[in-house]
């Protein structure tokens, strides 16, 4: 428990650190109002003064940072300059679309990589092992956008099975069902993320399984006549899964951080798309809010990994 407590305290420090970096970074370029308003010759002095007061830009930066932190603690991220909506509400709506493709991708890739890695690890250096390894190495090194381009060319343009962009049909939903229409649009982005994650998970799990299958307790289990299935999926897998678990947090972070790329490839209305727009239009509250929320999600994922660690491996609980 002390372990978890220490990690949680460090997680809090991390989030505050990220928020400080982002805040002072964004504020380094000076008064955003002056910059945004320079293209609007009609703005009067009064309007500029009113906006400056509204965003507290007359105060020094550290004072605004503290005020922003206090509001953050009350779950208030301010409102977007360009959309004129509360940032929280926007992150909720767009974030749902992002998680909608990322969480299924992670689950599906774990489910695929377990049997793949098992096949490869059981018969090391066999032909099936070699082909699984080669495929995983290729999938791991392939840039996600190239995978996306290939998937779009083949399944959207050539075969015409699935749409290449967007999360919903612009006109009537397919099969008269918004749900099915959404699923239909999810196929390609989820497929792209799944290929990438499956490759990495398989590589990790195979290496770790090979290590575990050599250990004494596996030999002992075999000697005592346990069925092979139970040895592999019960004993070996549980022990070999720890590195994958560690990587899970990183994989989630990687997907969130590269969401702008994924979502540009598929014109997907998610957090990445929102972020790119916010950066291009210098929408400060959105940039700061989204970075902090993503940092919280990442730190949360790492913390969950730590907790799962403790659940799987009792040695950590004591040490």
């Amino acid at each position: 428990m002390r372990f978890i407590g220490r990690r949680a305290a460090f997680a809090l420090v991390l989030v505050v650190g990220v928020s400080a970096i982002v805040f002072f970074l964004v504020n380094a370029i000076g008064n955003p109002i002056a910059m945004l308003i320079s293209g609007q010759p009609n703005a009067t002095e009064d309007q500029i003064a009113a906006l400056t007061a509204y965003y507290h830009l007359d105060q020094p930066a550290w004072q605004r940072y503290l005020a922003w932190l206090v509001r953050l603690a009350h779950f208030d991220l301010g409102s977007s300059i360009t959309y004129n909506q509360p940032v929280w509400q926007m992150l909720y709506v767009w974030g749902w679309e992002t998680l909608k493709i990322q969480i299924p991708a992670i689950i599906i890739s774990i489910l695929i990589s377990i049997p793949l890695a098992m096949t490869a690890a059981r018969r090391q250096n066999s032909r099936s092992d070699m082909s699984i390894m080669a495929g995983s190495l290729l999938g791991h090194a392939m840039p996600t956008f190239l995978m996306g381009i290939v998937l779009i060319l083949v399944f959207a343009y050539w075969l015409g099975w699935v749409p290449s962009y967007g999360a919903y049909s612009l006109r009537a939903p397919a099969w008269h069902s918004v749900f099915l229409d959404g699923l239909w649009h999810m196929v390609l982005p989820v497929g792209m993320l799944t290929v990438f994650n499956t490759a990495t998970f398989t590589l990790l799990l195979r290496a770790s399984l090979i290590d575990v299958l050599r250990q004494d307790f596996v030999v002992a289990a075999r000697a005592s006549g346990l069925p092979e299935r139970r040895i592999l999926y019960g004993h070996a897998l549980r022990n070999a899964f720890i590195p994958v678990l560690t990587y899970l947090g990183i994989a989630f972070g990687l997907m969130l951080a590269t969401a702008p790329v994924t979502e540009t490839v598929f014109t997907w209305p998610g957090l990445g798309f929102l972020y790119i727009n916010a950066i291009q239009q210098l929408d400060y509250p959105v940039i700061m809010g989204e970075t902090v929320v993503i940092a919280v999600m990442l730190v949360g994922a790492t913390l969950l990994t730590d907790i799962a660690y403790v659940a799987i491996d009792p040695r950590i609980r004591i040490g």
Partner: protein
């Protein structure tokens, strides 16, 4: 046998590298990229800024004899642009890793050698950089920095935006190097030959530079090889999103210009995509082969 003994660890490793399948594949792929980078001037059929195809066979023309990979939306020859993208990619990868390894080796070395709370503090800092959404921060910094420099002397620096990207990728890319360096330093700090050096009164700085660092090098080289690939990929993603250097010829930039018309002219998006793939795969395989070659226990 005697000759073998006199060779340094690095050279022995390289000899073993060409015997591993991953290593040889990696060397070939990286070799292709390096050759393209060195020879793009002679290999490319057109100048990278040559848009004359718009007057000839037209923009978005499918691969033909005069333009083996077709022409893109702006009438550039795709093959020439891809070849001229190679030096940019290598500059990004190597430049970023020079910055990253300077920081990473310093941080990891100090942490591993000093130990105690210095170690604790530096490793927490490293973890901080590993957890933050680096790509998002770099995106924001590139955009904001491009606004800050307007009107200052920095504006006159050639390829400023590409250099900013290189430095940023280095500044945010050092944590894996620091972690590995620390682990190697911890392992070697109390190795017998280091203790022996300490006994005869060698200065700590000399112990670090002459005894520990050379022995930590093989592992560091592996991480750097991996890092080159991921730096190239990051630059490609930044450029693909439109935050690259508009004055540089880069693969990500090509994708950015041409991705919107993937349906009409897939070759102009596929070619740079495959170039990035070859580079990243090459460096990944090279790293794989290197770690096999340097680590005798992993060989079978």
């Amino acid at each position: 046998m005697r000759r073998f003994h006199r060779q340094g660890m690095l050279r022995q490793g390289l000899r073993r590298l060409v015997r591993t399948p991953a290593g040889i594949c990696g060397l070939v792929l990286v070799g292709i990229v390096v050759l393209a980078a060195l020879g793009c001037h002679w290999l490319a059929p057109f100048d990278p800024a040559d848009q004359s195809a718009t007057m000839g066979i037209g923009a978005n023309h499918a691969p033909a004899w005069s333009n083996p990979l077709g022409t893109d939306r702006l009438g550039y020859d795709v093959l020439s642009r891809v070849l001229y993208g190679a030096p940019t990619a290598l500059a990004v990868g190597l430049g970023a890793m020079v910055v990253a390894s300077l920081i990473g080796v310093a941080v990891g070395g100090i942490a591993g050698y000093a130990g105690g709370w210095t170690d604790e503090l530096l490793m927490r800092l490293t973890e901080f950089f590993l957890v933050i959404p680096v790509f998002l921060v770099i995106l924001a910094v590139v955009r904001l920095f491009s606004i800050v420099v307007v009107g200052t002397w920095l504006e006159t620096v050639p390829h400023l935006s590409l250099m900013t990207i290189i430095v940023l990728l280095g500044v945010f890319g050092w944590p894996p190097i620091a972690r590995l360096t620390r682990a190697e330093f911890l392992r070697l700090r109390h190795a017998e030959f280091v203790d022996a050096a300490r006994c005869i009164g060698t200065r700590p700085s000399e112990i670090v530079v002459r005894h520990i660092l050379p022995n930590a090098m093989p592992g560091i080289v592996v991480v750097i090889a991996l890092g080159i690939g991921s730096a190239v990929l990051s630059e490609a993603m930044l450029s693909f999103l439109g935050f690259g250097d508009p004055n540089a010829v880069s693969w990500g930039q090509l994708l950015f210009f041409n991705y919107e018309q993937l349906k009409i002219a897939p070759w102009s998006s596929l070619a740079p995509g495959i170039a990035i793939f070859i580079t990243v795969l090459g460096f990944n395989l090279l790293a794989d082969g290197l770690s096999d070659a340097f680590n005798p226990r992993r060989r079978q």
